[in-house]
């Protein structure tokens, strides 16, 4: 292999590896093979040498077998803290007939990895299915070779730990490594493909058949995550740890808190260079409205960013403020879209024996990453290396290409984990800001956002306003369900990009900008059998609101808080136990399954909600909630079912609500690693309690004002609920994702538990002390009434 064959962005490849500390397992194999590979045999064998993504129709793009009879997988799904990569290693080991210890993975890298997007609980469902197909094909290649080598029909061969032997004569055996002899698979096959999340039928009749699920030895077991030991030891390398030689520390200087998106345009009126004269090591970096500072010493960069006087053109007084938000939604001109209209809702409502009509509200919430985002970039005249945390290395590459103006194949993005992201936190901004600063100063730059940068300029989870009407007949069966939802457009340009381009404020308006993700869909309500159903999305134009983006289980906590609240209101009106009400109106066995699992675990005793009110100052209650992550693009194909029972304690004197115990059950189809799924349930139960009780973005007419952990409250240790987690294993169903669905169930159950404890219904979350005290006060003279 000649050095000339692997021109690297910015750095010679050996330098690249040395400075980044990146070591590819098996790279030496790829190098050796690459040198001998015939032309046209390109992508996978040039792993690490050329820009990806590699050809998904080549087995080599996913899997390599090494001389020591181990394997490496190259699936571009990343460790966000959820354990997905461990599940993928289990899938590969299972299909290949290797022990788990024989299967490694590597850092996601645009010069190495397949194209994956670690979002919407896709790793197991989509990433796992893709990898299973590739690994099944790899195994078929290996068995073909073994059949020839051992002179035995493939049907007589057995595999253990990557050693193929003849069933009737186990002495005759050969290893995978010997079979391949250092060569790649070089096998084209038909990969699994998706359109909008829907798995497409494969055309070929000759695809390798994956292993029978009844024979699984590794998939379905509780394998520990290797990254956890590293994290606990303190040896795990987060993006915050990455350092390059000659690197400068960078900080951005942004105005305090985002203004009205699409209206306010952060514009620099002046930069007072003298204001940081006292910090000789610091230097200002500026590209149009993008202002930052760099310094050799990190503290100099931090101080300079704080001290630098930047005058900004004032933001427009265009935001409604968090207090005025929902009135402004209702007053706004909307672009309405009917999601579902079946039967005749109005007629059914008029026939209903018990009718509920209620308005529910959910706040903007923040991703609240534990660590503000960070990225290290080395941008030269003709290439860029960016090391960062994200959900998709290839998506990040696109943004870096735009801000640097460099060709896409000259940009190498490598994934290094940050903290929890919960969706589109400011990781794109961090990667772009680091690249802009490195390009400006001609040196590698490590950009670390401040707590305020991250909280103040997030792509917030959208606020939600909902008018619901629903009715049951005399037997408590649902006859009508109507959901009118208000929400607004998300996206637009990333902050770093907009500032650096000096671009006019822009926003995705009607049409695509509203995004299916931010609307209410029948897939969120169809666990209930309702003959007459109407769902309308009243889409508010996004100008003048906050910029929004996908936040874990986008929209679901607000939608289920509303829907499950109304179901509880109906149950109460019909004098039915909330669990009994649901079993009367649900026929889908998997929904009934999780409901039963959660209520059994909680030792649910049937009774009408709020039928045992206490006169004490500290009262207790429990509630039920169902939840899923709505997937409008593939209804019925990849659905996860979740149910929660939550116990709460309400202090009527100070208004503090504590979720004391969450019993949550989830059916995510085939749970590749039930231990990891269980961890997700524990996390979602606590995150859900945080969303329901604490989290709320605050803003005034001009900008966001909740910019630290005091102004943006989150659940803390003292108030955390115990969790009983139940994984409902479904060996023969598709893996459908496990990172989102319990969240809305818990939020909904907390709202219902509060009613059970107090007899007062709060229809806006979070249930903060202020909101709770106001609700209790307004109904003090009329207990049992709703607020």
């Amino acid at each position: 292999m000649s050095e000339g064959a692997n021109d690297q962005p910015g750095l010679a490849r050996r330098e690249f590896l040395k400075t980044t500390g990146v070591v590819f397992v098996g790279l030496s194999v790829a190098e050796g093979v690459g040198a001998q590979a015939p032309a046209g045999d390109a992508s996978a064998v040039q792993r690490g040498l050329v820009s990806g993504p590699p050809d998904p129709a080549q087995v080599d793009s996913y899997i390599a077998i090494h001389p020591d009879n181990t394997a490496t997988i190259f699936a571009g799904y990343v460790e966000l803290g959820q354990g997905g990569p461990t599940a993928l290693r289990q899938v590969a080991a299972e299909e290949l007939g290797l022990d788990l210890a024989q299967v490694k993975d590597v850092r996601a890298d645009t010069f190495v990895s397949t194209n994956g997007f670690t979002a919407a609980s896709r790793t197991a469902g989509i990433g796992g299915t893709e990898l299973r197909a590739a690994a099944a094909e790899a195994r078929r290649v290996l068995l073909e070779l073994a059949s020839e080598r051992l002179k035995a029909p493939a049907g007589d061969l057995i595999v253990a730990k990557g050693v193929v032997s003849v069933r009737s004569d186990p002495q005759r055996s050969v290893t995978y490594a010997d079979l391949l002899g250092g060569k790649p698979f070089n096998r084209k096959y038909e990969p699994v493909s998706y359109t909008g999340g829907i798995e497409l039928p494969r055309k070929s009749r000759d695809n390798a058949i994956p292993r029978r699920r009844d024979d699984y030895r590794i998939v379905g077991t509780r394998v520990p995550r290797p990254d956890i030991a590293e994290k606990v030891r303190g040896t795990y390398e987060y993006v915050q740890h990455v350092r390059l030689p000659g690197m400068l520390h960078g900080r951005v200087v942004w105005p305090r808190g985002q203004g009205a998106h699409g209206v306010s345009n952060p514009t620099v009126a002046g930069v007072d260079e003298a204001s940081i004269k006292g910090i000789p090591g610091a230097r200002i970096v500026r590209r149009r409205n993008f202002v930052g500072v760099v310094a050799e010493r990190e503290w100099d960069a931090v101080r300079a960013a704080r001290q630098l006087k930047v005058t900004w053109e004032p933001f427009a007084q265009a935001l409604p403020g968090h207090e005025g938000l929902f009135d402004s939604f209702r007053a706004a001109k909307t672009n309405d879209a009917t999601d579902t209209a079946t039967g005749d809702v109005n007629a059914a409502l008029s026939r209903g024996v018990h009718v509920v009509s209620a308005t529910y509200r959910g706040p903007y919430q923040s991703h609240g990453t534990m660590a503000p985002n960070c990225a290290v970039a080395d941008v030269t005249k003709d290439a860029a290396l960016v090391m960062c945390s994200d959900q998709g290395i290839y998506q990040t590459r696109n943004g870096v290409a735009r801000v640097t103006g460099l060709p896409i194949d000259k940009i190498r993005v490598q994934y290094y984990a940050g903290s929890n992201t919960y969706g589109s936190s400011c990781y794109r901004d961090a990667a772009q800001a680091a690249a802009i600063m490195s390009q400006e100063v001609g040196k590698p730059v490590r950009l670390q956002f401040s707590r305020e940068d991250e909280f103040g300029w997030d792509n917030y989870g959208p606020a939600h306003l909902a008018d619901l009407r629903a009715a049951v007949d005399a037997s408590g069966k649902l006859v009508a369900f109507e959901y009118q939802a208000w929400g607004h457009a998300g996206g637009g340009m990333d902050t770093a990009m907009q500032l650096a381009f000096g671009a006019a404020p822009q926003i995705n308006q009607a049409g695509g900008g509203f995004g299916a993700l931010f609307q209410v869909h029948v897939s969120q309500t169809d666990m209930y059998d309702v003959p007459n159903r109407l769902i309308v999305n009243r889409r508010v134009l996004g100008s003048g609101y906050l910029r929004t983006g996908a936040l874990r289980a986008p929209m679901d906590p607000s939608v289920f808080f509303a829907q499950e609240g109304v179901m509880d209101e109906l149950a109460h009106a019909a004098r039915l136990d909330p669990c009994e009400f649901r079993t009367r109106n649900i026929s889908h066995p998997r929904w009934l399954g999780v409901l039963e699992a959660a209520t059994d675990a909680a030792k649910w005793t049937p009774r009408v909600a709020a039928s045992e009110l206490s006169a004490g100052r500290v009262v207790h209650g429990r509630g039920i909630g169902l939840g899923t992550h709505h997937l409008p693009q593939n209804q019925g194909d990849r659905v996860t079912f979740a149910a929660a029972v939550v116990d709460v304690e309400v202090n009527k004197d100070n208004g503090i609500v504590v979720a004391t115990h969450v019993y949550a059950a989830m059916d995510c189809g085939l749970a590749i690693n039930p231990g990891i799924v269980e961890s997700q349930i524990v996390g979602m139960s606590n995150h859900g309690a945080s969303l329901a009780l604490k989290e709320e973005v605050q803003f005034n007419r001009t900008n966001v004002t909740s910019v630290d952990w005091n102004t943006y409250q989150t659940l803390r240790f003292r108030e955390h609920p115990a969790v009983t987690a139940i994984v409902v294993q479904q060996l023969h169903e598709k893996s459908s994702g496990a990172g989102e669905e319990v969240l809305p169930a818990v939020v909904a159950a907390i709202g219902n538990a509060f009613f059970d404890a107090t007899g007062v219904r709060i229809r806006e979350y979070p249930l903060t002390p202020r909101r709770v005290l106001a609700a209790l006060k307004s109904t003090r003279r009329a207990p049992g009434r709703s607020a």
Binding site: I228, V232, R233, G234, R297, M370, N420, G675, H720
Partner: protein, 182 residues
């Protein structure tokens, strides 16, 4: 303005050149290249940056380096050795019992806050060998975990307390009585 500062970190003396107001965190991460303490907020609000100074948990992101000169600092990297010395355990274990317990419980998710969770949990266990649930909730309240792994951290602290107590009973640890309540 930069001074030479002498610091004792994980039992070793270091000389660093930094302005005295530099928050300790940046010295630990940039000059000493330690991975345990890490930036979370820079405001002392979250606990990602915690280290022990003479056995007491402090927030390194808001502690001027000059203020810890003369103190003995312990980061996550040095915790097992510090534990061994303080509890008179020989040979020193590879990990603090709380670290073993965190792995056994598969507690971490993103793990970013775990530096602080382990440092604070270890501080608690030095002070109170068998903490009650209420004591654990109270001691750990200043350490945010956004992945919501609090129940697993709780279990891990309880598991570690049991492990320490049982190793005392079986004599695997010696001379621990006088340091149970420090």
């Amino acid at each position: 303005m930069a001074n030479e500062l002498q610091l004792r970190v994980n039992g070793r003396m270091w000389t660093v050149t930094a302005s005295p107001d530099t928050p300790l965190l940046y010295v630990l991460t940039d000059d000493l290249a330690l991975k345990g303490p890490r930036f979370g907020c820079g405001l002392g609000q979250c606990g990602c940056c915690s280290v022990l100074a003479d056995g007491v948990e402090i927030r390194s992101c808001i502690t001027p380096t000059s203020r810890v000169v003369g103190k003995s600092l312990t980061t996550l990297e040095g915790l097992p050795a510090y534990y061994a010395a303080r509890m008179k355990v020989t040979p020193a274990p590879e990990l603090h019992p709380l670290q073993d317990a965190m792995i056994a419980e598969q507690a971490a998710q993103c793990g970013y806050c775990y530096n602080g969770q382990i440092i604070k949990g270890a501080e608690l266990l030095f002070r109170t060998a068998e903490p009650t649930e209420t004591q654990i909730r109270s001691a750990m309240n200043g350490h945010i975990c956004r992945c919501g792994t609090y129940p697993r951290i709780m279990s891990a602290i309880q598991r570690a307390a049991r492990a320490i107590a049982s190793s005392k009973r079986t004599g695997a640890l010696s001379g621990t009585k006088e340091v149970t309540h420090v």
